[in-house]
């Protein structure tokens, strides 16, 4: 199988300090292969080295050792970059340009003709949910979330085969996040590979086919998300929401059920159990206490556990 991203023994030391330069290892011997046509989640806690890796792949910084290839070409190959897209972390663009002008400028750098530039600009700005009245506003007047949307739009202007998104959801409101999730899904359907860094677990769950988890610059785990979750052996948790009864009134009765915990809520109580079968035992207890059932739902706590396990040493 051929990989579209191949990272080999990649390390990066940053030099810090003014006089006595100290070397800080941000990335430590990373090896990673990504196949095409999927959404690849690049995970890790703050300072794990995600942005460092992506910046090396974009040739914005140079690795201390190691090498990497994208689409079969070495990352130093300038021409290869016409086939990829990139949205930086907390993107910032020329603030004297209007959103439309920025898209047009970048389209021109890719050598697109004016008509196509214009068409892609309108299509993408609409697609990322930027209000049409903001298209002709200077970017200095944009909010963080609006800039993030422009950042995503500009990353797609050349219809890239792979798009690198460094925390694409940061700064977005809930509607924005849903819109961008849909956009990322659509990209995959069209055959675009998405390589995204994030630490938002629900996004990983909703989007990613495969993930790699970094811990302090080292690769801690990589693989299919479902496989990683079952390997980690974390327990499934169910959440039972009830109303019309105080948590205190149920506490005694629940002591008989192994693993059950209860917490008070403004309208009633929230019970967590680890065994599906316990639901049948809980229902009569709730009814006897005068409460009623609102919902029962499984909670994928396993992803959080996996994340915590792999990102903490």
């Amino acid at each position: 199988m051929s990989y579209i991203i191949e990272i080999e023994n990649l390390s990066k030391d940053y030099e810090v300090g003014f006089w006595k330069k100290k070397r800080v290892r941000a990335l430590d011997d990373l090896n990673l292969q990504v196949t095409g046509g999927q959404i690849f989640g690049f995970l890790g806690g703050n300072g794990a080295g995600k942005t460092t890796t992506i910046k090396i792949l974009m040739s914005l910084i140079f690795p201390t050792t190691g090498k990497a290839k994208i689409l079969g070409s070495d990352i130093s190959d300038v021409k290869m970059r016409s086939r990829i897209g990139y949205c930086p972390e907390n993107p910032y663009f020329y603030d004297y340009l209007k959103a439309r002008e920025l898209m047009n400028y970048f389209g021109e750098l890719f050598g697109l003709d004016p008509a196509l530039r214009n068409q892609k600009t309108e299509e993408l700005l609409t697609r990322v949910g930027l209000d049409e009245k903001d298209w002709n506003k200077q970017l200095r007047k944009f909010s963080k979330g609006m800039l993030q949307r422009v950042g995503l739009a500009q990353a797609l202007i050349n219809e890239p085969e792979i798009v690198f998104l460094d925390e694409p959801m940061s700064g977005l409101d809930p509607i924005g996040r849903r819109e961008i999730r849909e956009l990322i899904h659509e990209l995959r359907e069209k055959g675009t590979t998405v390589f995204m860094s994030t630490h938002i677990l629900s996004d990983i769950e909703a989007l990613c086919d495969r993930v790699a988890i970094l811990r302090k610059g080292k690769l801690a785990a990589t693989g299919n998300l479902d496989e990683l979750l079952s390997e980690s052996g974390a327990a499934q948790v169910y959440e039972v929401n009830v109303k019309g009864v105080a948590a205190a009134a149920l506490e005694n009765e629940l002591k008989g059920i192994a693993g059950a915990t209860i917490s008070a809520k403004p309208t009633g109580a929230n019970i967590q159990i680890t065994d599906e079968k316990d639901i049948d035992l809980i229902l009569p207890i709730i009814r006897n206490a005068g409460g009623s059932l609102v919902s029962v739902q499984p909670v994928k706590q396993s992803l959080e556990e996996l994340f915590v396990k792999e990102t903490e040493s």
Binding site: M58, P91, Y105, G151
Partner: protein
Amino acid sequence: MLNFSVISHIFTIARNTFREAVRDRVLYNLVLFVLLITASAIFLGELTAGQEARTIVNLGLSAMLIFGAFISIFVGVSLVSKEIERRTIYAIFSKPIGRGEFIVGKYLGLCLTLAVNVLIMGVGVSLALLYVGGGRLAFSIWGAIFLIFLELTILTAVAILFSSFSSPALSALLTFFIFVIGHFSASLKEFAANLGSSFTRLFFDVLYYVLPNLSLYSFITNAAHGDAPPVKMTGGAALYALCYVGVLLVVTNLIFSRRNFK
């Protein structure tokens, strides 16, 4: 490897740099300049006709050089450093743009800004000369104006070079020193010739060849007397500027290509 896409990248970046300068109100210095020229044209009324025109040329072209040098130095040192600091450069180099293309594009964009600036100032001075009855001077000064522009293109390249490895403030200071010393570089050579010790002589000789010889572009006093620079002088000065700028841009590119953008 100079193909069409390289040229079109450079052109696109240069145009955007020009747009940035205009939107950042760099050309507003023209307002001040026009006020200065108008005021001097009006208040110099006491002098006799010939002197009046001469003073306007001296004042106008000197102001043109100083205003232009200000733009070259301050906009020049921030051309690239501002893009690194604000991280606007991330979205550029993830696209198929070489670092050299970016440097040359930014450089040419500022040169275009300077050309427009110098052109408008030149027209202002010419109009003022026509107003005070110095009709002949209004045309003969354009050779000197072209030399001023050439000098500014060199200064801009110096500013970009410094900013590729030092902070904007230090770069501005160093570029200013070069601007001042560059005007005396011919004296450096004479000075070196009179020195006894061969080592210090070598030192000043090297300095003479490394520093830009900006005295090649000083023609303001002559222009005030109605002289135009000979074609041979202008051609030589243009060739010198081309070579000097070329070398500086190559060196800038070498330094810049190795930079990590943090």
